[in-house]
Amino acid sequence: MRERFLTGYNDFVLPFMIGMIFILSYCAIGLIRILKQLPKDDRRRFFISLVTPKTIVKNIRDIFCDCLLHVKIWKRNKLLGYMHSSIAFGWFMLIVIGHIEVFLYVPHRAKLFYYPIFFRYFVAETETTMKGAFFFFLMDFFLLLVLSGIFLAMFKRIRSRMFGMRRTTNPSFLDLIGLYSLWAIFPLRLLAEGFTADISGGSFLTKSLNHILNSFLSDHTNMLPAWWAYSCALGIFFVVLPFTRYMHIPTEILLIPLRNAGIKIRNARKGFAKAQVYSCPSCGLCIDACPMGVMKTHIKDTTVYLNRQLRRNNERRIEEISDKCLLCGKCTAICPVGVEGDKLRIAQRSMRKYAVNPDYSGIDTALLPVSPGLADPSVAADDKVLYFAGCMTALTPSISKAMESILVKAGVGYEFMDKEGGLCCGRPMMMAGRLDQARQMVEKNTEIIRRSGAKTLLLSCPICYRIFKEEYRLEGIEVVHHTVYIRRLIASGRLKVGKTGLSYVFHDPCELGRGCGIYDEPREVLLAAGNLVEASKNRKESICCGGSLGSITLGFDKRKSMTENALSNLTVASPDVIVTACPLCRSTFTRYADRPVEDIAETIDRNV
């Protein structure tokens, strides 16, 4: 390779350089701002994680898998995965190989920023460059890879269903400019390199293009406009990037180390929350996932639009969107970049100021004695199980009765914490964003549990279970959900369950499945009692029953279609009984179901 120009410069690099300098300085300022907004201990934790070998490896692996290869999207849909990874990985490789070429052939130009990008314009092929044929081939190969991705991206705008997406996001005006400039970059690159293929050399793509369109491409007076256009497309893309959804590309690289450092959302708008909002690629996967999507009017209330409004600081819409959500967490579970839609919304709610602030510190816990269980008092000594039914179970007493009956049959000595009524666990208050009030309840309940001297806290409500696991400080006490506990009783042989011919479908309650990661235990329990069929969407993707306490503004009448949608999803394999493990799901489903709905405790109690 030899250089064609002594100066190693042409004016057409300017648009690219302006865009590049702008985006780099914008990202640097953004990075410093987000790090400054983090609370002090979080920032320390982040810096420590950056030098811990274990997290370094995890960061590199995650960035490679998520940002370049898009493994999560591959798992979702092959075509969508290919589209993303071909563009991201292909572009990345073009940049890397471009730099390698510069280092190999014109090392003295390595300090020039634009040189690797416009390498083929500045150099000419010589006799000895057959060695470079390998790199030429790689460059053309990756360019073809990116072009195939771009072609799929164009196709996706017409037929998103081919990519497993029923609905996609409505792009904003700037998004469209970013999108079109991104689409233009690579065809323009091909054209520009096609012009220079007879000077600088090329491979199967650029060289062939040069041969085929010889009459046009061999005319070197047309060369500069093509390179100008290529540079302009890059420049426009970089300049609009901070104001479009493509900001997720640089932000995600920050979000992954922050997440791996174990940082949580502490402020609704600053620090980690901001990193999440800017990491949202507006892909719209959450639109199809959202259980509210059955009603068209709710489509604009999905997480992708929350992120957009948060970026625009549209307070009215932010409040509307964050109050309506059911907090089922499905958008969080399927999000390929890890935006926590439910936690972001709780954080928005926690910003509200209220004129009336409930205070529970005056409640005397002595008024809330623990009731003795129904079991034979002689067995009560060793187990020390404390059963907390919770508010929702109190409304569906068949569950607590079945649970008590199971405990008696298994010979477990237990005490009943709220037989005569008790305090709320605090989770509904926390979902409403009133964290201080929730914490007061947590303290009161902790006091009662500690005083009872229990070793195991048994819960039949996943809403309670989640907050007991996440927020309560109950060292030395095992917090266990009744699905897990029943499975343990069956496995240890204390509970003998007879199998019937009935087929069951298990509905994964949001708080139990996505909230606490319990999917297998209830299924194992049900397998002991009968046949198990699966819903069309289950486990991580199970559909919220619609009764969730997460939503503040969603009225009773608006929830019906969601419940019916969830029911039709559950009954595709026509099970005899719908089984769930949440009192709230149970009563919501019972309202509209065409077949029996019961709690897992009731099913097992019947078959013991």
Binding site: A355, V356, L367, L423, R434, L554
Partner: protein, 108 residues
């Protein structure tokens, strides 16, 4: 002079003298409040009732009659657990109603 009994103060509410502007705003935020039939299902199921005398039924009635102080005092015992939401035969979104009251009405 103490006779060992007394006449209880009048509990009559003169609706002509009551300022219901806050109630009207509340009604705008959560129109469900007008749906209440005062059946008392919410109060019967309320777990906070035994500590604070919280009764959603009374809160709604009090607000409609302009007795804000009593309503707000009662409301400060609510734990927002959502049981009232589940038992309400009229499908009133009680949790939103409670939060809206907490936002609109001051404690004075």
């Amino acid at each position: 002079m103490d006779f060992g009994f007394k006449i209880s103060p009048s509990s009559a509410v003169n609706l002509d003298n009551v300022d219901l502007s806050l109630y009207d705003r509340l009604h705008e935020v959560e129109p469900d409040i007008a749906k209440c039939i005062a059946c008392g299902s919410c109060s019967a199921s309320c777990p906070a009732g035994r500590f604070s005398g919280m009764s959603m039924r009374k809160v709604i009635l009090d607000l409609q009659r302009g007795r804000q102080k009593e309503a707000v005092k009662m409301l400060s015992g609510c734990m927002l657990c959502g049981k009232c939401l589940m038992v309400c035969p009229r499908g009133i979104n009680t949790r939103h109603l409670i939060l809206a009251i907490c936002k609109l009405y001051g404690e004075d």
